[in-house]
């Protein structure tokens, strides 16, 4: 009886010990797994890298990941997603000019990888795995200067699109080009300059008539058509505001074209400068006549904004032909004869001009024919003067 008792005691103790050991082992395993997860937590890094494309070397953001990705079963389909934000002063999307790296119907940067097959339910990327190498040249930041970039990397279930793992990293980047917010601001400033300059051209002959107003109005309408309907009222009020401002400034004589055009070099592209100049020309010719004051202001504008000479001449010839000038033609100005030119240069230049205009005298368009006739006479007069 006593023996049975002690056997029972020993069994009980052994059982307790066994349970204790099993629990200890389980705890150790849990700790080990937890440590392993901790050691292999999903993380990402950004490397400033380069890639060679044909003859070019592009700077890139190379984004790598490592660590564990846990699916719902072995042989599991997943994808990587990468998004980028500028968090320097608020959170703004970063845009991309490459279609492959754009969100649907948007220019916002968005990358989604092809399907990756995970062999196990829990797969550990023990070495750094490259997700994407983004050429920086294709990225558009909101503003110029030092930018703080947040890059978000996600591993998602390819079927349910549930997030399986994610990580954020931050890097700094010096954006040397103007950003899209800079350009939006520039565009507003450009629109203000265009409207105000066109109004000044309109007022240069002492009156602002309906034909000239129509030209400016049409330009504004065209700009408004670029906006969503929801924004059109707000934008219309902004653009109309410029008209009111300059109208009263002109009335009070408190306006300087050079002040208006100040800074255009920094904000307007060549194409925008030509757009501004074309509108001014359209305003000047709106009533079918270009008087001396209008001609002076358009030439001043062209000088100030430093338009390409040949393009400028072509625009003048088309929009303000000599046939609509009301003042006596200033041959040197119309022909663009520079006082620094030698007689030999003038002779060569006049020959080129003559060739150009003589080819137009039998144009089907009567306006071009008349213009060509007048220009040829001006060229002949200039030849007499200089040769």
């Amino acid at each position: 009886m006593e023996v049975i008792f002690w056997i029972g005691i020993i069994w009980f103790i052994l059982t307790l010990y066994g349970n204790y050991k099993e629990k200890q082992e389980q705890e150790a395993m849990i700790k080990r797994i937890a440590k392993e997860r901790q050691d292999n937590i999903f993380k990402s890094k950004v490397i400033n890298d380069k890639i060679v494309v044909e003859d070019s070397i592009w700077d890139t953001f190379k984004i790598d990941i490592k660590g564990i990705v846990e699916g719902s079963h072995d042989n599991f389909d997943m994808r990587f997603i990468v998004r980028m934000f500028d968090i320097t002063d608020g959170e703004y999307p970063i845009l991309c000019t490459l279609e492959d790296f754009q969100a649907v119907d948007s220019r916002v940067f968005f990358y989604e990888s092809n399907i990756e097959k995970l062999p196990y339910k829990e797969t550990i990327f023990s070495d750094w795995f490259s997700v994407i190498n983004i050429p920086k040249i294709f990225l558009e930041f909101p503003k110029k200067g030092n930018r703080k970039i947040q890059i978000k990397v996600f591993a998602i279930d390819a079927n349910t699109r549930n997030i399986l793992a994610e990580d954020n990293i931050e890097v700094t980047y010096l954006a040397e080009e103007k950003g899209y917010i800079d350009r939006q601001n520039d565009t507003k400033y450009f629109e203000e300059m265009v409207i105000k300059t066109a109004m000044l051209v309109s007022a240069s002959d002492g009156t602002m008539d309906d034909d000239e107003a129509r030209v400016v109005k049409d330009w504004i309408k065209k700009r408004l058509s670029y906006f969503d309907e929801s924004r059109q009222t707000e934008e219309k009020n902004r653009l109309n505001g410029y008209i009111k401002d300059i109208f009263f400034d002109i009335e009070s004589g408190d306006v300087d074209i050079y002040e208006i055009l100040e800074g255009i070099e920094n904000i307007a592209s060549e194409g925008e400068k030509f757009e501004l100049f074309q509108l001014c020309l359209d305003v000047a010719q709106a009533d079918g006549e270009a008087d001396e004051a209008e001609l002076k202001i358009v030439y001043d504008i062209a000088d100030y904004i430093k338009l390409d000479r040949s393009q400028f001449r072509s625009m003048i010839e088309k929009t303000l032909p000599v046939t609509i000038h009301t003042s006596e033609a200033n041959a040197d100005k119309l022909l663009d004869i520079d006082s620094s030119m030698t007689n030999k240069e003038i002779k060569k230049y006049l020959r080129e001009q003559y060739k150009k205009w003589n080819a137009r005298v039998s144009s089907k368009d009567v306006k071009i024919r008349e213009q060509a006739e007048k220009m040829i006479n001006l060229i002949a007069e200039a030849r007499k003067k200089y040769i």
Partner: protein
């Protein structure tokens, strides 16, 4: 044998010439015995129309019923001369001149049907067609047209022994042409040709009239005239004074204006000063054509004068100053073009219908040869990226350059500009420069392409311009082999166009 006839349809004067039995061209005087006929029409009534000297002399009595200088309107499709209850196009008016020339000539040489008509070298497709149409309206078969300077060079070559590089200086009543030629005996090759649309004797007449007005007004304080009929009368007087100053240093003339009669003296120097801008224009044109012929004045061996206005001393001085040598005046400058056109008619007849030409004429014609050039550039409208405007713009891309020797064949390749582009606009342009606003589109249509192809598909443009004035353009999509062929008839009569079109396979 039919008569072989050439006509110089001039702005102020016209002339007609025929090849004689030995193949030499001769002017046929009109029924009044004049070798040249003024290109003037007087519409006395709907039924009675006077043409020539009679019309010119009547101009002052009713200037509204007189049509003149309409050759300058050949390019103007909207031009209409309205008189009595009718209105006439420039072609219709020209047809009256042609009829008069041919009717008068027929009285002397018999029936005239096939003719060659001369046109200024700068005339474009529309103007050449209008001239052809005038011939057809006059009941003529226009077998060819010839550029005026080419005709003059051909005549000079047939009569004067010329060799080397020559400059044909053709200053007529309303137009001015300059051509550089290379002659080897009777073999003439045109190198470059240029023209000024609105420069000639009538401009000098107006300048002389202004001089008369200035003198009259300065002396009397009044106006020389205020009525259009009086103006026409003074213009005739101005023309006479201009001619007088070609041989005299000054002329005295009584002017009877609104404030009485006075006598004015006009010197050659004053007249030269008055027309100095026009002379400057002639010099610009000469320099241009030399430039296009890639030669300097010293490279020119001889200068041939053509056209009545080339008699003006200031013009001859200008030529000598510019070219460093005296021009040749070996023939009658008023007749050289008509005579050359008759030779051209002979060349065409020998080539196209040798049975209608006597063996003597054929033999004479076979000693002559003339090679012409494209008088304008031919191209197409294409798209290209403008770095300044930062956008795609359309431009005129020249395929056959002006002054390219004929026949010519040039192939150029263009590329589609957008993905999936299924249509390409094929246009044929005539004119200089890259700006499409300043060239004429002489043909335009769409060509369908296969769909769903990326941009950059090559389209081959082949322009073939033969020496008969036919331009064949083939537009071929290289990858699919799809092609379209367009024939442009440059300076060919509508009857001939229709006959050719009937055979062409599209």
């Amino acid at each position: 044998m039919s008569n072989i006839v050439g006509i110089d349809l001039g702005t102020t004067m016209s002339a007609i010439a025929v090849l004689n039995s030995v193949g030499k061209p001769e002017i046929i005087p009109n029924k009044d015995g004049d070798r040249i006929t003024p290109s003037v029409i007087f519409f006395e009534s709907d039924e009675k129309i006077l043409v020539g000297e009679e019309a010119k002399n009547t101009a002052a009595t009713d200037s509204n019923s007189v049509a003149k200088e309409f050759k300058r309107e050949m390019h103007n499709e909207d031009y209409r001369f309205k008189v009595n209850h009718n209105s006439y196009t420039a072609s219709e008016l020209s047809s009256f001149i042609l009829k008069k020339l041919v009717q008068d000539a027929s009285l002397q040489v018999g029936n005239i049907k096939d003719v060659v008509i001369s046109v200024p070298a700068y005339f474009k497709e529309g103007q050449r067609n209008a001239t052809m149409q005038a011939g057809e309206l006059a009941g003529l078969n226009v077998i060819s047209i010839i550029n005026e300077p080419t005709a003059a060079a051909l005549y000079y070559a047939s009569t004067v022994d010329i060799n080397g590089k020559g400059l044909v200086y053709d200053l007529g009543g309303g137009t001015f042409d300059v051509t550089v030629t290379q002659a080897d005996g009777k073999d003439i090759q045109i190198i470059a040709s240029e023209g000024d649309h609105h420069l000639g004797g009538v401009d000098f007449d107006i300048a002389m009239l202004e001089l008369m007005e200035d003198k009259y007004s300065k002396e009397t304080g009044g106006k020389l005239y205020s009525d259009e009929n009086d103006k026409q009368e003074f213009l005739l007087l101005a023309e006479d004074l201009k001619k007088s100053l070609s041989t005299r240093t000054s002329v005295k003339q009584k002017l009877s204006g609104e404030d009485g009669k006075i006598t004015v003296e006009i010197s050659q120097t004053e007249f030269e000063e008055k027309i100095s801008t026009y002379i400057s224009r002639t010099e610009l044109l000469v320099e241009q054509v030399l430039d296009e012929a890639d030669c300097e004045p010293e490279d020119i061996d001889y200068i041939l004068l053509v056209g009545g206005s080339s008699r003006i001393p200031a013009i001859q001085k200008s030529i000598k100053r510019l070219m460093g040598k005296e021009p040749i005046i070996a023939v009658n400058v008023d007749e050289a073009v008509a005579l050359g056109a008759a030779i051209k008619a002979g060349l065409v007849m020998v080539k196209n219908n040798p049975a209608s030409v006597s063996s003597t004429i054929a033999k004479e014609m076979n000693t002559l040869n003339v090679g012409d050039v494209a008088n304008h550039s031919y191209g197409t409208i294409s798209m290209s990226y403008d770095e300044n405007l930062q956008k795609h713009i359309s431009k005129n891309s020249i395929i056959i350059k002006k002054n390219t020797p004929l026949p010519a064949k040039v192939v150029d390749t263009f590329y589609t500009v957008s993905d999936g582009q299924s249509i390409v606009d094929i246009s044929i342009t005539q004119g200089e420069g890259t700006d499409p606003d300043f060239v004429d589109i002489i043909h335009e249509e769409d060509m369908e392409l296969p769909e769903n192809r990326p941009k950059g598909q090559p389209i081959e443009f082949t322009y073939i311009y033969d020496d008969n004035g036919m331009m064949n353009c083939v537009f071929k999509d290289v990858n699919s082999g799809i092609s379209k062929e367009v024939s442009v008839h440059l300076g060919i009569s509508s009857a001939k166009k229709n006959a050719i079109d009937a055979f062409l396979v599209n």
